[in-house]
Each structure stands twice: as structure tokens, then as C-alpha cells.
Symmetry: C2
Subunit: 230 residues, 2 copies
DNA sequence: CGAATATATTGTAAAAAATACAATAATTAA
DNA sequence: TTAATTATTGTATTTTTTACAATATATTCG
């Protein structure tokens, strides 16, 4: 390569993760309280600059791993943001990912760059630095559209869940309501959610049956041309 | 900023465009014959390194503009590729876009970096440099999934088109076949394709009616909760 | 133990959408 | 006028979606 390319090799690339979690109060996003400049002492999306010797996806996974201590997190690249002035230190492109985690598996895992992390209800997100509010809005739309066509909702629920919980998850994310009977009919007819034979315990009313998602059955269905669509 | 960030600002970012076109022989992709290193004298996706003072989308649009001479091209970001060794000159991330153009509006528009450009049928794509075959495969899947849920197919057709052409477009992209009667019933029931009152000329058989896409009607429908799904 | 409370579970009829299927119409060319 | 070629259209059947409310199972409290 001759010198005419030099001026291009002065950009940085970061990853930013929109980490979703879900509990009985609704959909939540994990934010970190920045302990370093720029935007020290602000809530922001967890992210990091990428070292030149690290693959994109590895970098995104490492951020998540450091933050949550969890392995095998469901992640998906959503969009790359690259406005000229989005970062005060220079030209930084950021590749955004969304991640879905089981909120009850999450244990706070202090890392060197995050003083603190906390779950924020999706409807109570503060002003975020950089273009993080824009990224979050994008991620929310992506999740909404994705969850209707792929069985990824289960990533947000415990291994065993009730149909009421499942319905509530879909209702939160899609911002709509379903008829209880029709929702159950449809979900169960898809044949990849199976009864565990177990029931809820420690509830003060009729306990619900516990179900689990059967990924193997789902991929069998896909191979026969089945298309999930809620 | 202090010196500890310096090592991150040594990456380059490029854009690569997967430009789709369609005619009676099927779906096509526009490739350029590279006149400069690296990979001089290879067919490749049209793309360019991004200057530090250029926004991502502006850069992608400029590549298309220089290549086709067309304005207002339908473009959409699809994915960012960033494997460590994907570029021989250093760490280059590339943001891939797909673009849909009306193939008959396209006139070859020689640009400084492209010696030649040509349409390749989607089934006859040669080996491409970098990870361009991977990018192309990704774009094809994206187009397939997108075209079922958004009325973007019209971007590939002339302003006035026959229902047979429209059906053939969908069949090419989705790699399936539709029943003629059912396809027409469904498309026309969606109410945003209107009869122009015109007919084909210079055909040696019964001429077909010419229709046009009505974007205004489509957005009205969307606002009433309508969801396009083919 | 019975009643009150709370949530879970289930079926059916009507409407809408998807599917399967083939005859007729309009044009040019011979 | 006929042959050739493609365009256009309808209907009956099946499947899916929708709308709608009564009964079941557990706990807690008198």
C-alpha cells in the first residue's frame, strides 16, 4: 500500500450493547454508570472501543461477559452509527448489538470500567450520552420486529415459565394485548413449547403449569417450511 | 483525551453496496471491475473507504451516485463486517448497504475508480475479493426477508409495470411460485397498486394493463395499522 | 371446615383469509 | 380466418383468526 491510504486509517470503532431483561414489571435495559471520560458520571449503554486485533463479535461478547458474567448470551448486530461528530475524541463509528438475558441469572459483576450498572424500565430511560438514545430506540424497534418472527422471547424468560408470563412478555414488547384463549391456542399449536409437568409453587392462588421452550422441535419445524409469526 | 486512546484510532471504515436490479431474465447484481489495488482486476462490490469528515450514509450514497448517476436510490444499511484480516492493508471495517434500482434507468457512468461495471445474474456471481461473497449472501437474505414485509419491490420495476412482471419479481426474489389468480387477488386487495389506464405496446399478444405503485395510499394504510405481508 | 379471593384454564361459533383449481379474453402473426 | 401467445377472472373448500365467559384450582382468612 502506498501513502494515499494513510489518512483513512485514523478512525476508531466501538461496540455498544443494548441489553434487555424482563420481569413481572416489564421490559428493562441494563445501563452502566460511566467511571471514565468522556461523559464520566453519566448513565450510558455498555460498550467499548475495539482493539485492532479483536473481531467485532468477540468484542461485543466480551463487553457482555465482563458486565454480566454470563456465557452464551443471545446477541445480534443491529446497526452501525457513524455520524462525524458523535464522539468528542475523534471519529468513532459504533456497531450496536442487542442482547437478551434472563434477568434472574444476572448478577452484578463489577468490571474495571463500570462503576455501577442498573436496570432501567424501558419507559424510564434517562438522557444518555453520545447517540445512545437513538441506538436504544433503534434496538427497541428491532426487538419488536424480531420477536414476532423468531422464537427469541424465551431468552428473556427463566427456563421454566408460565403461559401467563409468556403472554405478558409479548404484550410488553409489542405494546399490545392478546386474548388469553387465543394466545394460548396459537402458541401451543406451534408445538415447540412443552409442558414440563411442573407447577408454580409459593403462589397464593391456583398455580400455573410450567412450560419450556424446545429449540430442537423449532428447528425441525423450520426445516419443513414452517414460519413463526405471532 | 489522553494518550491511552491513541492505539484505537488506527482503523479504517469502508462502505460496500450490493446493488440489485431486475429485468425479465431475473434478479441481478451490479459489480465493478477494480482498477486499483488491492485486488486490481477483480470483480467486486462497489465500495469506498470513508473519509473522516464524511457521514456513513453520505459515503454510501456517493458511491452509488458516482456509479449510476442516479439520485434518490432506495438504500438500506444491512450489516457491518469486521473480521481482523478481511483487508490486506490494515484493519478495515466495512458497512454494507443494499440498494434497489430500476435497471432501465441505469446508464453506465464511468468513475475514476471503476474501470468497468456490469450486471451479474444472482446465480452467476464469480468469486469476489475480501468477504464480498459473504456480504452478498447476507444482502440476498435481507432482501428476501424485507420484500415480504415492505413494498420495496417497486423500486426494482419501471414506474409502470404489469402484474405479471410484479409476480415474476416476487417469484425471483423469494424463489417460489405463486398462483396467478391468488397473487393478483392479494396484491390488488392491498389497495396501493393502481391501474394507470394504460396498456403494454409492442407486444405480440394480448397486451397487459399497466399499474403503478401508490406510496401515499400505502402510508395511509400503515397509519391505520395495516401490515403488508406477502 | 367453609367462604372469599385470586389467578389459571378451556371451547365454540362466526368471520376472514388462504388455497386449489381452469375457462375465457385480447391481441398479433400467419 | 385461424393459430399462437399471454392476460384476465371466479368460486368452492379449507384453514386461520377472531370474539367472547364460564369453570377449575389453589391459598388465606374467619
Amino acid at each position: 500500500m502506498d501513502g494515499k491510504f494513510e489518512s483513512y486509517f485514523k478512525a476508531a470503532v466501538s461496540v455498544d450493547n443494548v441489553v434487555f431483561g424482563f420481569d413481572h414489571t416489564g421490559l428493562k435495559v441494563l445501563l452502566i454508570y460511566r467511571g471514565a471520560d468522556p461523559y464520566r458520571n453519566c448513565w450510558a449503554l455498555p460498550g467499548d472501543l475495539i482493539s485492532l486485533d479483536t473481531n467485532l463479535i468477540d468484542s461485543a461478547e466480551k463487553v457482555l461477559q465482563d458486565l454480566t458474567g454470563l456465557e452464551e448470551i443471545y446477541m445480534e448486530q443491529i446497526h452501525t452509527f457513524g455520524k462525524v461528530d458523535r464522539h468528542p475524541y475523534g471519529r468513532v463509528f459504533t456497531v450496536a448489538y442487542f442482547a437478551l438475558i434472563k434477568i434472574e441469572d444476572y448478577h452484578l459483576h463489577p468490571s474495571s470500567w463500570a462503576e455501577e450498572a442498573a436496570w432501567f424500565p424501558i419507559s424510564e430511560i434517562p438522557d444518555l450520552p453520545f447517540d445512545h438514545n437513538e441506538i436504544l430506540a433503534f434496538a427497541k424497534e428491532q426487538l419488536k420486529s424480531k420477536i414476532r418472527r423468531q422464537p427469541i422471547g424465551f431468552e428473556l424468560l427463566p427456563k421454566h415459565f408460565t403461559l401467563t408470563e409468556l403472554q405478558s412478555l409479548y404484550e410488553s414488547i409489542l405494546e399490545t394485548e392478546f386474548d388469553v384463549r387465543n394466545f394460548r391456542k396459537k402458541i401451543l399449536s406451534m408445538d415447540f413449547i412443552s409442558d414440563t409437568g411442573l407447577k408454580q409453587t409459593s403462589v397464593t392462588h391456583r398455580p400455573a403449569k410450567l412450560y419450556k421452550y424446545n429449540a430442537k422441535r423449532y428447528s425441525n419445524l423450520i426445516n419443513t417450511g414452517f414460519a413463526f409469526d405471532l
